[in-house]
């Protein structure tokens, strides 16, 4: 596919790199030459210096006939303008990054489609939803659900005293002969491993398990975790994300939201009647103690400043909060979470980039997700009649290294795959793989 990416902020940078790795032809436009040359060093793409709202620049980028135009600059106006012009100049599909929740309402979609915007992405909204997901599934660091939760991939961080530490995967499966779950990826020391039977679990590993819904309890037990019902939530930062999270959960839980800006705090208090709004500095221990941080179940730091969020989460962790979630928009920091002991980390730019590539993949795939912060993709395919994947038992197939079949949904039944499983036409198959193997796996599922 030929894709034009306008705006190489963090979202554009990640997206261009990702799409290029997935064998798309990428032309990137930005007004900052440094951003272009930075990306050229790490991705096989073509760069174009100029403004994406300029007709000349878009024509130079061969927008006519381009399969997709993605505009993800930091300015909503520029993005909308770029898409409108690009569509008129002949782009087949357009995606704009926006910063206004209203545009996403179903009633307005038609209007935007008419002026030339096919899909809109609102990173703050996506981040808020992801946070709510994590609060509901308290033991996990990541959750991706398939087929309405029949099968899900969950990420867990192993503590020193988890029962399976220092045991290999095959030992664990001997002790627990259940076939309802399977380890599909381990993230350790900045590397993603697609594990084999003799790989051992080590403390601080982030382990990704595919599991049937009924086996999740068992998985959590093995990992030494427990799902707890959260009641008291504290949010630091009353920006778009904080506000959205508060509005989504404040009817079920006690939510306190802290913001240092007097004016903003007053505004929040007005729009969120069920939430207690506190004006103050989130790094102030006295203030936190006063507001009962001891009793807080989950602490969510979503200010604009990544360092503030990380530090205050570490502080909260130190004070005994069970779960901390930090918004960290610096992509460079993402791999650090594990080393410094943060529970979960949200990067709205990565989420946005993933969401866009999910939209792009939507044709071939049933669904698609990337595990935040680690190099692995979770893909859901439909096995077609006659495609290579259905021809043999999994262990006898020429399945690429660095990829693993996790689970299968066949009708109402869900199956966790082993080497002896045979995939049948019509199955929905969840595959976990390293990013550079995606195209190889796709080939196996190709319809004849």
């Amino acid at each position: 596919m030929r894709i034009i990416v306008a705006g190489l902020g963090d979202v554009g940078h990640q997206l261009a790199k990702k799409l290029s790795n997935e064998k798309n032809d990428i032309i990137a436009i930005d007004i900052d030459e440094n951003k272009l040359s930075r990306l050229l060093d790490s991705a096989d793409i073509l760069t174009l210096h100029g403004s994406s709202t300029s007709i000349k620049t878009l024509q130079k980028a061969q927008v006519d006939g381009a399969d997709l135009l993605v505009s993800v600059t930091s300015s909503e106006e520029v993005n909308i303008m770029t898409c409108i012009i690009g569509k008129k100049l002949g782009a087949k599909k357009t995606i704009a990054r926006i910063a206004n929740e209203e545009y996403l309402e179903p009633d307005n979609q038609e209007y935007f489609a008419k002026i030339g915007i096919d899909f809109m992405i609102y990173p703050e909204d996506l981040a808020a939803k992801e946070i709510v997901n994590l609060i509901n599934r308290t033991a996990a660091t990541d959750i991706v659900e398939f087929q309405k939760g029949k099968i899900s991939v969950i990420g867990l961080r192993l503590d020193k005293n988890a029962p399976i530490i220092q045991k290999s995967i095959s030992e664990v499966s001997k002790l627990n002969p259940s076939t309802d779950f399977r380890v599909v990826a381990i993230y350790r020391a900045f590397r993603t491993i697609i594990p084999k039977g003799n790989d051992k679990f080590l403390p601080n590993d982030q382990v990704f398990v595919i599991s049937k819904s009924e086996a999740i309890e068992q998985v959590l037990k093995l990992a030494g975790k427990k799902d707890i019902k959260f009641n008291n939530i504290m949010i630091l930062g009353g920006g778009k994300i904080g506000r959205k999270v508060a509005s989504l959960i404040s009817n079920k839980m006690n939510v306190k939201i802290i913001d240092s800006n007097q004016h903003k705090a007053e505004e929040l208090a007005e729009s969120l009647p069920q939430t207690l709004v506190i004006q103050g500095d989130g790094r102030d221990i006295d203030l936190l103690a006063q507001e009962g941080i001891i009793d807080v179940d989950a602490y969510i730091a979503v200010t604009e400043d990544a360092e503030t969020n990380i530090i205050s989460c570490l502080l909260a962790k130190h004070l005994g909060v069970k779960k901390t979630i930090a918004l960290v928009d610096k992509v460079e920091y993402v791999p650090l979470t594990q080393t410094i002991g943060l529970d979960s980390l949200i990067n709205k730019k990565l989420i946005a980039a993933n969401n866009i590539s999910r939209y792009i993949k939507r044709g071939e795939l049933l669904s698609y997700a990337s595990l935040e912060g680690i190099d692995a993709e979770v893909l859901e395919f439909k096995a077609h009649f006659g495609s290579d994947i259905t021809k043999d038992l999994i262990k006898d197939l020429d399945f690429p290294k660095g990829a693993i079949v996790g689970g299968i949904v066949r009708g109402d039944e869900s199956i966790i795959a082993t080497g002896n499983t045979q995939i049948k036409p019509g199955d929905r198959v969840v595959v976990i793989c390293l990013p550079d193997k995606v195209s190889e796996v796709e080939k196996l599922f190709k319809q004849l």
Binding site: S20, D25, I27, S42, D44, I45, L46
Partner: protein, 482 residues
């Protein structure tokens, strides 16, 4: 440093070189020469060594490479390929001295075209074909060929592309570097076939036409005849070669745009305009001068001057005439031309016109900047302003280029060449042209240069082909520091 990957790619380069060696065998068989076995053995040794290195490093290969690895691959790759490229000469016994064989091979791969063989026509056809083939491989670049063939390089391919392709700014023709490499090679092959066909129409045999097309499009200059193109004594053949030398000296991404239908783009490119105007002025001046002073008719003097100037500027180095005999100041003119070169992104060598264009514009703008000290006055090229860092890089390149030229001339002078010959040889080898001046000039060759001089020139040729930085960087301590 990811040595495994470095070796892996070098193994591939060797295997590819070995396979290409076989290409001369059909001609050897056809002309009933005695070198079939020698070439077969050379090809097998090279391909097999390459294959062994390739397969030994195949397991658990980490594909991630950075700038260091790519510079190492390009430089070491070029040296090793040149080393194995000597095998056909050595095994067949036509060039028993390793120094001579290495010089000839490096001269081939770097598309210099400087030869130490006195009687070229005595070579068997297979060997002669390999000699021209080295030009053709080196012209567009063996690394670029690997990028086009190997699907696995990805971003590493981009780094390699940067390290091998000549010119201050590297144009991509397509978002993917592999597709870019494929397109560049496709244009190259297309032009080669076209020239071969046209030369055959002029009465050349397929063998000679292919060899000369290889020599032209790569801007090499190896001929299959002792007298080079003068042997044919055919204006038609000379005009064909003039045209294709000119084409080979032009930026290939311009050719690509034109082939895609944007014909006017030639005339929108300022470097191309400089290149054409320079040639037109030189040719007009010289042909009038020759007609008036040397009693040669206008057509002949036009053809001879066009051939000589384009041959030297495009760094090809074919000859039809001894231009040093034209008049008293032509030696100086040609010495200056040896230091210029043709367009960036072409197969030609030398400093390249675009670098001079930018430096010249910058120097002239300096006058304006003196009067308006606070004004921002960018150097423009093709309507775009050139970043300061690119100008700094170009200045650095030109300075290093001149230093190497100077040092090379001094060394050759010490080794016994007269000063004009020494300067001519150093400049002609550094710019990958071939014929220099006086004893290494258009009617002589490099066989009289002492052995040490040949080694120095071989090194200079590779320095010139890879545009200095890619090689010198390996000698800088910061390259090896972690």
């Amino acid at each position: 440093m990811n040595y495994k990957f470095v070796f892996h790619i070098i193994g591939f380069l060797l295997a590819l070189t070995g396979l290409l060696m076989f290409s001369g065998i059909p001609f050897s068989i056809y002309y009933n020469d005695n070198d079939v076995i020698d070439i077969l053995i050379s090809g097998l040794i090279t391909a097999f060594t390459g294959f062994l290195i390739w397969s030994f490093t195949h397991k658990n290969l980490d594909m991630e490479i950075g700038k260091r690895e790519s510079y190492l691959i390009v430089t070491v790759g070029w040296f090793i390929v040149s080393l194995f490229g000597t095998l056909p000469f050595l095994i067949s016994g036509y060039l028993p001295s390793f120094t001579d064989a290495f010089f000839e091979t490096v001269s081939g791969f770097t598309t210099t075209g400087a030869t130490i063989i006195n009687d070229i026509e005595a070579l068997p056809h297979g060997l002669m074909f390999w000699r021209s083939m080295t030009h053709w491989i080196g012209g567009m670049g063996i690394i670029l060929l690997s990028i086009a063939i190997l699907p696995l390089l990805g971003i590493g391919g981009m780094q390699l592309f940067q390290a091998e392709v000549a010119g201050p700014v590297k144009d991509k023709l397509h978002p993917r570097v592999q597709e870019t490499a494929k397109r560049l090679w496709a244009i190259y092959v297309l032009f080669t076939l076209a020239e071969t066909f046209l030369l055959m129409l002029g009465g050349m045999s397929l063998f000679d036409a292919l060899c000369h097309s290889f020599g032209t499009l790569a801007t090499g200059g190896f001929s299959t005849k002792n007298q080079s193109i003068a042997f044919y004594n055919s204006p038609y053949i000379e005009y064909i070669i003039i045209i294709f030398m000119f084409i080979a000296g032009t930026n290939f991404s311009l050719h690509y745009q034109v082939l895609k239908g944007y014909i006017l783009n030639y005339f929108k490119d300022s470097e191309f305009k400089f290149y054409s105007v320079l040639i037109i002025i030189l040719v007009l001046f010289t042909s009038i001068y020759l007609t008036l002073n040397n009693n040669i008719n206008f057509e002949t003097s036009f053809r001879q001057s066009a051939f000589s100037y384009i041959s030297i500027l495009s760094s090809t180095g074919f000859t039809t005439v001894d231009y040093q005999q034209w008049g008293p100041f032509f030696t100086e003119i040609f010495l200056i031309l040896l230091l210029i070169g043709a367009c960036a992104g072409s197969t030609s060598g030398g400093v390249k016109i675009v670098r001079y264009e930018i430096l010249l514009k910058n120097s002239l703008l300096e006058l304006k900047r003196l009067i308006h000290p606070n004004a921002i006055i960018p150097v423009r090229q093709n309507g775009k302003s050139i970043q300061e860092e690119i100008i700094a890089k170009i200045s650095g390149f030109v300075l290093l280029y001149l230093i190497i030229f100077g040092l090379g001339s001094i060394c050759l002078n010490i080794l016994g060449l007269d000063s004009t010959s020494a300067m001519g040889a150093a400049a002609a080898c550094l710019a990958n042209i071939g014929p220099g001046l006086n004893s290494t000039g258009p009617v002589s060759n490099y066989s009289s240069v002492p052995d040490l001089g040949k080694w120095i020139l071989s090194f200079i040729m590779i320095l010139g082909r890879l545009e200095i930085f890619s090689i010198l960087i390996l000698f800088s301590p910061s390259f090896w520091k972690r």
